[in-house]
């Protein structure tokens, strides 16, 4: 059984009495879905041509204090009864997972990958899973995966009459080339925003795009995955686990190397964004975007409470959610790309149409964005609309593959130097790893004094400058790196 991303093994015991009326007792704190297993298991056993006990019998689910949920216990319960009936011992170090159909077929359950990894870590050597989920479980090394088509096949396998072949281990090799959905070469002009994207990718920074409707903010955001390095094996497994838990893992290609891109609509609820559910929380959008990109379009339209809930995961890369059934933690280390209009009507700053918003309305609008969330976004850039008649003459951009090479190079420098991306550096390590040349320190301090930068803002600019230097291949943070980083701070208004 799964509690968030944690697997808890359940021991299923069956005891068949010598006498009494036919009665099926299921004990061990079973929730409704598990209690219903009695009916499914009875039909499945009978329809598989197996013998159903003719006396009173008991199935116990241990540990008894853990509330059991989910239909994945159907298969182990049926197997326990069948083996007890056949007076055979359970197979050693084996685990079973699967829902039963009335005809005895084994059906898909969510979270097979998570369960398989957990079971391996508990020392199990063999796992029986629904046949359609075998490719998921086969991603786990050091575990024999037996794909189960039907209850009868499983029981025959266990009784030694007919063998099922184990599924082959299934770590698809890293492809040479990953076809991204969108490429920077398709974006005409917008060099400033593209540079901001490169810096954001290069150091794992969060990014705000501000500009009128139709300026290409969404397009730019969708290009970010194309300049990020492909997922590492460990990262891809983490992404696959979360998808497995949600039942969203495609069976033909369980391991996906492209980074996730999630773009929830601004009407999303807090539970939808950070995770939630009735008894135990399921992962939300931020965990679906783990190791990828979370794109929030129309940032000012999101409910304030929803945005506030983003603060903890933005800092820690994890989110823990408590519901009545307990507390679960999910990873949520994503790159945030937010987009906003400069004012409520959206046309502020546009050459072609005049903004009709009152200064008061603009003030209110921008104040909704400001504060703690904006303070956590390292890079802010305004995106101007390229007039249609100028589109043709705007140069095509560099292809994403070239930008990605620089990004990979810069990221490698960071991992070798500090074992983490620049965006995750604490101020102490920043001082140690990103020494400022005297000129750059003076510039940064002058700006801070002039614009009233908070300590957090000061260090954010410093981190971005570290990334600019890494993209440059420079060990030292030079003045022009600091200046570029400050150029990406739209929120600092001159006093």
């Amino acid at each position: 059984m799964l509690v968030g991303l944690e697997a808890r093994p359940i021991h299923v015991e069956a005891d068949i009495s010598r006498g009494g009326d036919v009665k099926f007792f299921l004990v061990g704190l079973a929730a409704t879905t598990v209690k219903e297993a009695r009916e499914r298991v009875r039909s499945a056993i009978k329809n598989s041509g197996l013998e159903y006990p003719r006396t009173r019998f008991t199935v116990n689910l241990a540990p008894a204090e853990l509330r059991k949920e989910g239909s994945g216990l159907d298969l182990p319960i049926a197997v326990a009864i069948a083996l007890a009936q056949a007076r055979r011992p359970p197979p050693p170090q084996s685990a079973f997972l699967g829902e039963l159909a009335l005809d005895g077929a084994v059906r898909h359950v969510d979270g097979v990958l998570v369960a398989a990894r957990g079971l391996r870590d508990f020392g199990y050597k063999r796992v029986f899973v629904p046949a359609e989920d075998a490719s998921e479980a086969a991603l786990v090394d050091g575990l024999e995966v037996i794909p189960c088509e039907s209850l009868s096949a499983v029981v025959m396998h266990l009784l030694g009459t007919e063998q099922i072949a184990a599924a082959a281990q299934n770590l698809s090799a890293l492809p040479e080339h990953i076809a991204a959905e969108h490429d920077l070469a398709e974006v005409h002009g917008q060099e400033e925003a593209k540079r901001a994207l490169e810096v954001a990718a290069g150091g794992g920074h969060h990014l705000l795009l501000s500009g009128p409707p139709g300026a290409g903010k969404t397009m730019l955001a969708r290009c970010l995955p194309s300049i990020l390095p492909p997922l590492e094996l460990q990262e891809a497994l983490e992404v696959a686990q979360l998808r497995s838990l949600l039942g969203e893992l495609p069976h033909d290609r369980p391991l996906d190397w492209t980074r996730p891109f999630r773009a929830p609509h601004h009407s999303v609820s807090t539970a939808g964004l950070i995770g939630g559910g009735s008894r135990l929380a399921l992962p939300g959008e931020i965990s679906r975007a783990h190791h990828g990109v979370l794109f929030l379009d129309e940032l000012a339209e999101f409910q304030t409470a929803v945005l506030q809930a983003l603060r903890q995961p933005l800092e820690s890369g994890r989110v823990s959610i408590t519901r009545s059934g307990g507390s679960v933690a999910y990873p949520a280390r994503f790159s945030l790309v937010a987009a906003t209009n400069p004012c409520p009507c959206g046309w502020g700053g546009d050459d072609l149409r005049t903004c009709r918003c009152t200064p008061g309305a603009i003030d209110t609008y921008q104040r909704r964005l400001s504060g703690p969330l904006l303070d956590r976004i390292d890079l802010q850039v305004s995106v101007c609309r390229v007039p249609i008649e100028a589109l043709a003459s705007e140069p095509r951009g560099e292809p994403s593959s070239l930008v990605r090479e620089r990004v990979i190079h810069a990221r490698r420098r960071q991992i070798e130097r500090q074992g983490a991306l620049n965006s995750q550096l604490k101020p102490g390590r920043l001082r140690q790893l990103a020494p400022l040349a005297p000129g750059s320190r003076r510039t940064l301090e002058r700006w801070s004094a002039q614009r009233g930068l908070t300590a957090r803002g000061f260090h954010r600019a410093w981190r971005v400058a570290r990334t600019a230097a890494d993209l440059d291949g420079s060990d030292e943070v030079l003045e022009h790196h600091i200046l570029e980083a400050l150029g990406f701070r739209l929120q600092d208004v001159a006093a």
């Binding site: 002009g189 917008q190 060099e191 400033e192 925003a193 593209k194 540079r195 501000s210 500009g211 400069p342 502020g348 700053g349 546009d350 050459d351 005049t354 903004c355 009152t358 200064p359 008061g360 305004s382 995106v383 101007c384 140069p395 510039t443 002058r446 700006w447 002039q450 600019a468 022009h480 790196h481 200046l483 570029e484 400050l486 150029g487 990406f488 739209l490 001159a494």
Partner: protein, 259 residues
């Protein structure tokens, strides 16, 4: 003399309003404006910097400062011997329909109304119309033909409003000319910045009114956008450029340093 205009001017308009306010105040003219954001505030500020007297005609009760951010400005106006004037009873909150009446009053107590940057349908144009009805002089400062903020002022000029290029144009109308004054449209290079040659190249491409973004500049200068962005930030630190509407413009206003 009233100086009115957009509440969201370009840096150019703000600089002109402040410079006009300053020089007219120095010449002994009482500068009247509406205590609003943008041009109004710049005109008041200029007059105060010029050591002059300025009058704020308010659309609220005199005890209700609107916008609140101008509380300090209102206090300085009073401290410098100026006045806050209102036709509305104390405690009147800002109401949209009160402002046209305020604009009429502003025209009524002034001899000349100078409009600096007004988009189509701007409140400043109501003041100008009121001034015409009251047989007062209306003058306007020209702007860029690309800027929406020039639509109102240029249509006034076409209809016969006096052209204002500097404070002397206004003083001449008031028969108070004679003093030699700074040219309000002086270029930033004359403002006493010490510019590094590589930064000067950027400045000469920038406009006072229309914002240019770093990408456009980078293309004109054939430089990487990261470098241009850095140089612009350096210029911004020096106060030579300002961010405006998603791009950059030359900063004309040097406030007290010029005063």
């Amino acid at each position: 003399m009233a100086i009115v205009g957009s509440r969201r001017p370009s840096p150019y308009g703000e600089a002109v309003a402040e410079q006009l306010g300053l020089e007219l105040a120095r010449a002994g003219v009482v500068v009247v404006s509406g205590l609003a954001l943008g041009i109004d505030a710049a005109a008041h500020r200029g007059a105060l910097n010029g050591g002059g007297v300025t009058v704020a005609v308010m659309g609220t009760g005199v005890d209700v400062i609107y916008p609140v951010a101008h509380t300090v400005l209102a206090e300085s106006i009073l401290a410098a011997g100026g006045a806050l004037v209102s036709q509305f009873p104390d405690g009147t909150a800002p109401r949209r329909h009160n402002f046209p009446a305020r604009n009429f009053t502003m025209a009524a107590i002034s001899d000349v109304v100078v409009v600096v940057e007004a988009a189509e349908g701007s409140g400043a144009l109501i003041t100008a119309e009121a001034a015409l009805d009251l047989h007062k002089e209306v003058m306007a400062v020209p702007g860029s033909v690309f800027s929406p903020l020039s639509v109102g002022t240029h249509s006034l000029l076409r209809d016969g409003a006096g052209l204002v290029q500097n404070a002397r144009d206004v003083l001449a109308l008031l028969n108070r000319g004679g003093e030699v004054l700074d040219d309000p449209l002086a270029t930033p290079q004359t403002l006493g910045f010490r510019l590094r040659p590589e930064r000067d190249g950027i400045l000469s491409h920038l406009s006072d009114v229309l914002a240019l973004n770093a990408a456009e500049l980078a293309r004109k200068l054939q430089l990487p956008v990261a470098e241009v962005l850095g140089r612009l930030t350096a210029l911004e630190l020096d106060g030579a450029v300002r961010r405006h509407q998603g791009g950059y413009v030359r900063a004309l206003r040097r406030g007290k340093e010029r005063a």
